[in-house]
Symmetry: C2
Subunit: 308 residues, 2 copies
């Protein structure tokens, strides 16, 4: 596993890096899902598998593992069991967001959403079961890393804060409420910081904490995560405005629902410029703490250049 | 705060004990709910308040605080912030159980269920937000007790296991699936152990862990919790079969839904005898570890003698 990359050619390097990382994330996720299936009734276990193992970029665990190495973590094979705790929270949020009583989405990543195949009641329970599963996964796997069990407490707190009232729950709700009303830039940034940003930030912070990084490094990673979170969400708006259902694997819902978006507020060009500015902020955060991590730089660029 | 009680007169003593304990649980819960309201959007915060502060016996936090003192814990004022983490998980499970896609219940504790007043989407999110809130509450409050921060990891694990796949999620689902089919005694015990028992057991275990009790004491508390959990659920079946809506504060749903119950399997008298036998098991577990706690003995009797 190498993070060293010719910085002049990040566009060629990153796809291979992401593919290699996914090959390490998937088995760690598979182990967690298999264990959950063994504990749960068959119906709920099947919904957990549908919701967690249905593809996706695995961006949060990859960011976590990358931040871990960028912070000096060396127990490379042991970071993935911790990193996937982020993906469990992400999967919970998607499963619940898609429910009929929420966004009522029928398609995600090019296939039926979990409740379409497994029912609303089973999906609601399966999603909720992923929250304690993530906490348990974080507590047990952090103990194996540089941070030790004490660091595991900080990591579990970080993860649960991102998953809870101060993090994505509030943000998800703002997102629903934003349908049909103009939020303005402050409102939109606040929404995105919580909805997407809370968990992206935590992915970085958890990686840094796992390596036992200094407070300075951890806070720089948090700022980097906040900036790429905003860039990521603007890029989502751009994709919704410009891509087809086939490329996205889901219906471009924002325009239909008349949600406030960056594209709606600023138009395509200005939205692209703003996304790039957030990427620059992210790179500046890394420099400020002396973090020299080509993979994190390339990932910051990736979030605005991806096509799905 | 005294646990000392004339053992010959537990029936007169326990109501006063429970009332005094509730007076200590409620302010600790109020503090958590106020903090959540400050973090959440107003609509979700209101649903959290509805679901958490709507009365109830507060049996789980009371069991936790009582087990803490029975295990030698002396930081009496500091156990309630930990103890209420159990009630947050309990409230989450009730809020989600009552949802239209689950039991579709409109009445609980004599008033409308949370989703009736606050909507299904808001209630689903508010309930899910209580899981990370409980984990955070446990991690922060355990650090103040005899067990210290390291003990907090064990406590958080215990709580999340009870809330998750190996605990109540599986059990709730078995309960739904049990509608209309005969489970038999093994199936029914398995269901009750997970549905009610997982969290009751954890209430006792968390109290013991908080006090830094020995493994022997903690495991005796777990067995005590398992036994009173079964007794509690049989008592619920008896109440459903014999009480009016007015006394229960909810519709006696089990008969309507033709669920398997102890009363259905064994009739009233045999079910009562079985509940009593579980209480005897609970008392024997205490004796086996030399736990001399009149309040725990009285509580074991209470779970089968309560009228709602």
């Amino acid at each position: 596993m190498s993070d060293v990359v010719p910085s002049s050619d990040s566009s060629a390097y990153l796809p291979a890096y992401l593919a290699a990382e996914r090959l390490r994330v998937e088995p760690a996720l598979e182990r967690v899902v298999s264990q959950l299936e063994a504990e749960l009734e068959a119906d709920i276990g099947a919904a957990v598998r549908h919701g967690v193992m249905g593809g996706g970029k695995r961006l949060r665990p990859i960011l976590c593992a990358t931040a871990y190495r960028a912070s000096g973590g060396t127990a490379d094979g042991l970071i993935y069991p911790l990193a996937v705790s982020l993906e469990l929270i992400h999967a919970y949020s998607l499963m619940h967001d898609d429910l009929p009583c929420m966004d009522d989405a029928e398609l995600r990543r090019g296939r039926p959403t979990t409740h379409v195949d497994h029912g609303e009641d089973v999906t609601a329970r399966a999603g909720a079961a992923l929250i304690p599963a993530a906490a348990l996964q974080a507590l047990s796997s952090a103990a194996e890393l540089e941070c030790g069990p004490e660091g595991g407490v900080d990591i579990a707190r970080e993860l649960m804060e991102a998953a809870g009232a101060g993090g994505m729950v509030g943000g998800q709700w703002l997102d629903l409420k934003g349908e049909g009303e103009a939020l303005g830039l402050d409102g939109l940034n606040g929404l995105y910081e919580r909805k997407t940003g809370a968990l992206l930030m935590s992915a970085l912070v958890v990686g840094g904490l796992g390596a036992g990084a200094t407070d300075d490094v951890v806070e720089a990673l948090r700022r980097y995560g906040g900036s790429i979170g905003l860039a990521f969400q603007i890029a989502d708006d751009l994709l919704d405005a410009t891509q087809s259902v086939e490329t996205l694997g889901k219906r471009p819902s924002d325009v239909e629902l008349a949600k406030s978006t960056y594209v709606g507020l600023y138009g395509l060009k200005e939205a692209r410029d703003r996304a790039r500015a957030h990427v620059d902020d992210a790179l500046a955060s890394l420099s400020s703490a002396g973090i020299d991590a080509p993979a994190l730089k390339a990932l910051a660029l990736f979030v605005v250049e991806r096509d799905n």
